[in-house]
């Protein structure tokens, strides 16, 4: 177990971010800002039908040399993707369509021209002949026997199904109180403000393919590109410039990445594709799209017993390399018990292929759906029992004394005080005052509601966890290469990919803590496979745990050598030295790091006999517990709802959260606030609906609602700090937590506002129409009853 020095000095400092300056002066360099002489732009011809046989692609006269179809990209090796399980059906996903198109937006041909506008002109002149086939649009109907198939040779439309049975199903069927509800969390896009993009060229000097990619992790993309293109990895270099947000949407190898790289190998100049917003909404990574049919069981005293039912994941038309969307089902089912003492599970999960864009990860992965389902069910159960939902929650939540607690589905909730988080959030919104206000009624005819949701956020999970999930690439460690230069300044290359999380600051704080120097003397570098050590990138709330740990370990290796050199220069034994304030101190004096660094790098004759020069160390790190550490928190929301228009206003939003030790509280707050804004998007605004032909109906920001400042309240935050035992400094990852609970908390609040009529708000986003219709339905049912 790692030691936990107290959080003093740089650990826990709200240091202003080191990366800010370049962005504030417009010097950020994103993929579309990379200037490469001779570059030509790609525009894609994309399928306009959801399912069809591609009969022919006719290239325009005079332009055919600049139009590429799949045949023109060969040789390629299409990679198997998804979990390495024999029962998982394969869905080969070529970078451009073969004889079949399976979703609206799938790439069919790539058109190359000196500018994007001219490339689009060329694309407009390409003729595509497709025989349209019935589309598979609804993932539940897709599992009915008569459904059309996404893949003709599959026995049914499920990529994979699974059963999660824990405890005794018998207990569930005979439980005294059973509440059954259906929930839907609709499909949405990930919407990084910078869309995706790729620029590739063959560098003749280094004899390698250089691929600039807006990605969350270049090393893993290099593995994929190397295999699909048939190039050795020492001839593929992936460079991520500044990345304008990712949120999961830039963490899979995408067909455009492959197509552009393949074209670059055919032509003698750089080739790039910059995704536009319409392409992003139609054909980039889609997310959420969960359907639940669940029954929550309880004793009459409110003791929650278990959950049974079905979980459907609409995974779209293909599995994205490497892992597709196949953690969704297992994470949704395994997280379904949330923080509660629920010991019995009987769940069946279906991960279903449909004629929609492939699903990928998005901040929170599966847990927003699971949290929505269980937290809505807890509220519904409370109403069934005539209890205050908050009290039922508190009755069933795992207490601090019970931690660490092994959930029914085998997750070990580690440290914290869940009851305190609940109570803190309750007091922040003043539950009693809201109940009083509700009793008095609103002068404007709106209804007030209060809702709570509790989330846990697994982070820092390592080898065992991802091996259990049968990942093709196991992101079980991170690495850091720490190098002290002759003047004592430090460059640390890491394998994670900063794309807004502030790694240049927080990782520098960790190094500063270990090396006892100012963070200004430390540069954190990343985003180039040619210079960064192997790593997996930034996702799954993993960077501060893994990369933070790797930075600590690499720095400690430096410190060990620094002390030896210092001891030698001070003519004392290393045991008599300590590193403090940027100098090695001995009984008779001190020697500065700059002097030691200069000796190590450039005056090696002063080194101890036999010691190799340089101050450079690669550290790798995995937490001591492979199943992860759990951040958690309670979201409490107060809403006002106009029943006629269905418009929901967020009057108050409070969070009590615990992510263990905070390296930089300023950055932590930013992550929580940002996650909540995305969660509010899921809860109230963002959706890509499809018609029965499989046409996506939100293809611009005119239809796809991304919340802006007026839609997002100023969230009040309270931090509990329960350090993890299994990580360096006691940190827990926290990037996703903010996005998990808002749909549940907001839906609970809206339901609370209409608790007297039992209106059901079980589908996100809670659009004005859905809200008003749910109220109207409940009123009519109550009137009829």
């Amino acid at each position: 177990m790692a030691s936990h020095p107290p959080s003093d000095g740089w650990i826990g400092a709200s240091l202003k971010r080191k990366e800010d300056a370049r962005f504030l002066y417009g010097h950020g360099k994103y993929i579309a800002d990379v200037r490469m002489p001779g570059v030509q732009d790609v525009a894609f011809v994309r399928s306009q039908v959801a399912n069809g046989r591609l009969r022919s692609v006719t290239k325009p006269e005079g332009g055919s040399a600049n139009v590429f179809t799949l045949a023109d990209l060969q040789p390629l090796t299409v990679l198997e993707a998804g979990p390495e399980l024999p029962q998982h059906k394969l869905s080969p996903y070529p970078p451009l369509a073969d004889e079949r198109v399976r979703y609206v937006g799938q790439g069919i041909a790539a058109c190359l021209a000196p500018t994007r506008a001219i490339a689009e002109d060329l694309a407009d002149r390409v003729t595509v002949d497709i025989e349209q086939l019935p589309a598979v649009v609804d993932c539940v109907a897709a599992m009915q026997p008569g459904s059309p198939r996404v893949f003709d040779h599959w026995a049914d439309n499920a990529y994979i199904t699974s059963n999660v049975v824990e405890g005794s199903p018998q207990v569930l069927t005979s439980a005294p109180v059973r509440v059954r509800r259906q929930f839907r969390m609709n499909r949405q896009a990930t919407v990084s403000l910078e869309c995706r993009g790729v620029l590739a060229y063959w560098d003749h000097r280094t004899n390698e393919l250089v691929v600039y990619l807006s990605t969350q992790g270049g090393h893993v993309k290099r593995i994929g590109l190397s295999r699909i293109l048939g190039l050795p990895e020492n001839q593929v270099r992936v460079i991520a410039p500044d990345v304008g947000g990712g949120f999961g949407g830039k963490n899979r190898l995408m067909p455009e990445d492959v197509a552009v790289a393949a074209i670059a190998m055919k032509v003698g100049h750089p080739v790039r594709w910059i995704e536009d917003r319409r392409e992003h909404l139609i054909a980039s990574v889609h997310a959420r799209d969960h359907t639940y049919d669940l029954t929550l069981s309880a004793d009459k005293d409110g003791t929650l017993l278990g959950v049974e039912g079905d979980i459907y994941i609409d995974a779209g038309a293909y599995a994205l390399w490497p892992t597709g969307a196949f953690q969704e089902a297992s994470m949704a089912s395994r997280n379904l018990t949330g923080p509660y003492r629920i010991r019995h599970l009987n769940l069946k999960t279906y991960t279903v292929a449909t004629n929609k864009a492939p699903m990928g990860p998005y901040r929170g992965v599966a847990r927003p759906g699971a949290c929505f389902a269980i937290e809505r069910l807890v509220d519904e159960m409370a109403r069934e029992l005539g209890r205050e939902p908050f009290d039922l929650r508190r009755q069933n939540i795992v207490t601090a004394a019970e931690l660490p607690y092994d959930t029914a589905a085998g997750m070990r909730l580690d440290t914290g005080d869940y009851v305190e988080a609940l109570d803190t959030a309750r007091d922040m919104v003043d539950l009693a005052a809201i109940r009083k206000r509700q009793a008095e009624g609103e002068p404007d005819g709106r209804a007030i509601g209060v809702g709570f949701a509790f989330y846990t956020e697994q982070s820092g999970h390592g080898t065992a966890e991802f091996a259990k999930r049968k990942f093709r690439v196991i992101p079980g460690y991170e690495s850091a290469n720490a190098r002290m230069l002759p003047d004592g300044s430090v460059i640390i290359h890491v394998g994670v990919q900063n794309h807004g999380q502030g790694h240049e600051t927080s990782l520098a704080q960790i190094a500063a803590h270990e090396l006892t120097i100012h963070p200004d003397r430390i540069s954190i570098r990343y985003g180039d496979t040619a210079t960064s050590p192997m790593g997996f990138g930034s996702f799954a709330s993993r960077s501060i745990v893994f990369a933070g740990g790797a930075v600590a370990h690499s720095c400690r290796a430096l410190v060990e050598k620094i002390r030896k050199i210092g001891a030698h220069l001070l003519q004392t034994d290393v045991a008599n030295t300590r590193l403090q304030g940027g100098a090695v101190h001995g009984p008779s004096g001190k020697v500065d790091l700059a002097e030691i660094a200069f000796v190590a790098n450039a005056r090696q004759e002063q080194l101890p006999t036999g010691m190799a020069p340089l101050l450079e160390a690669v550290g790798t790190y995995e937490p001591t517990v492979s199943g992860g550490v759990f951040a958690y928190g309670t979201h409490a929301v107060v809403v006002a709802v106009d029943p006629d228009s269905g418009v929901v206003e967020l009057l108050d939003y409070a969070v009590a959260e615990d992510c263990g030790t905070m390296i930089n509280p300023l950055i932590v707050d930013g992550q929580v606030q940002g996650g909540i804004a995305q969660g509010i998007g899921t809860a109230l605004y963002e959706e890509i609906p499809f018609d029965e032909l499989g046409q996506p109906l939100a293809t611009t920001f005119g239809d796809y609602m991304v919340p802006c400042a007026p839609e997002i309240p100023d969230v009040r935050l309270a931090h509990l700090v329960s350090p993890a035992h299994a990580t360096e400094y006691g940190v827990k990852g926290l990037g996703e937590g903010g996005a998990i609970a808002p749909p549940a908390a907001i839906a609970n609040a809206v339901a609370d506002a209409f608790r007297d009529i039992g209106a059901r708000f079980n589908e996100t986003p809670l659009t004005p129409r859905r809200v008003s219709e749910a109220i109207d339905r409940a009123r009519r049912e109550k009137g009829a009853a």
Binding site: L24, G26, S192, V243, G245, R277, G670, Q673, P710
Partner: protein, 160 residues
């Protein structure tokens, strides 16, 4: 067709296609990449520039329409006193994460504070309508603008 306009204080002349937006013009013809493209249909604000003194979506303006006019991008505000104050508060209040929305936010912030000096948080939130930030949840941005506004209006700066 040939156009001449004043860009960040200098006269520039280029031969452009009529279909070129002002955003593509400043980025690709003039190499000024602080102006970002987030949606290209006027809904995100990442391409915000200043045209004849007014904040403008550069993706909703044709370069040819700017012939003879004055355009300023964030690069033109390098030493601008008010912008320096706004930058300082964005830095102190964690008003940015990935940085992609930031140039547009800064230019919008300056415009808001010029029109409504020292305005409160609710006003700032409303005025930021149509400026998408996907990272911060807007909290840091609103705080940055409010506190910058207080400093610029000569009030006691808000605590970061």
């Amino acid at each position: 067709m040939k156009i001449t306009l004043t860009l960040n204080g200098s006269k520039v002349t280029h031969d452009v296609e009529p279909r070129e937006t002002l955003a593509d013009f400043v980025r690709d013809r003039c190499g000024l990449t602080a102006t970002h493209l987030g949606c290209e249909h006027g809904a995100c604000g990442a391409c915000t520039v200043v045209l004849d003194g007014e904040v403008t979506r550069a993706c909703l303006m044709l370069a040819v329409m700017c012939d003879g006019r004055t355009v300023e991008t964030l690069e033109g505000f390098r030493n601008h006193p008010a912008m320096e104050v706004i930058r300082k508060h964005f830095h102190e209040c964690h008003g940015l994460q990935c940085g992609f929305c930031t140039p547009g936010m800064l230019l919008m912030a300056r415009d808001i504070l010029a029109r409504k000096p020292g305005c409160d948080a609710d006003t700032v939130r409303y005025e930021l309508s149509g400026q998408i930030c996907r990272c911060t949840g807007y909290s840091g941005i609103v705080k940055s603008i409010v506190s910058a506004g207080q400093e610029l209006a000569g009030k006691a700066p808000a605590k970061a």
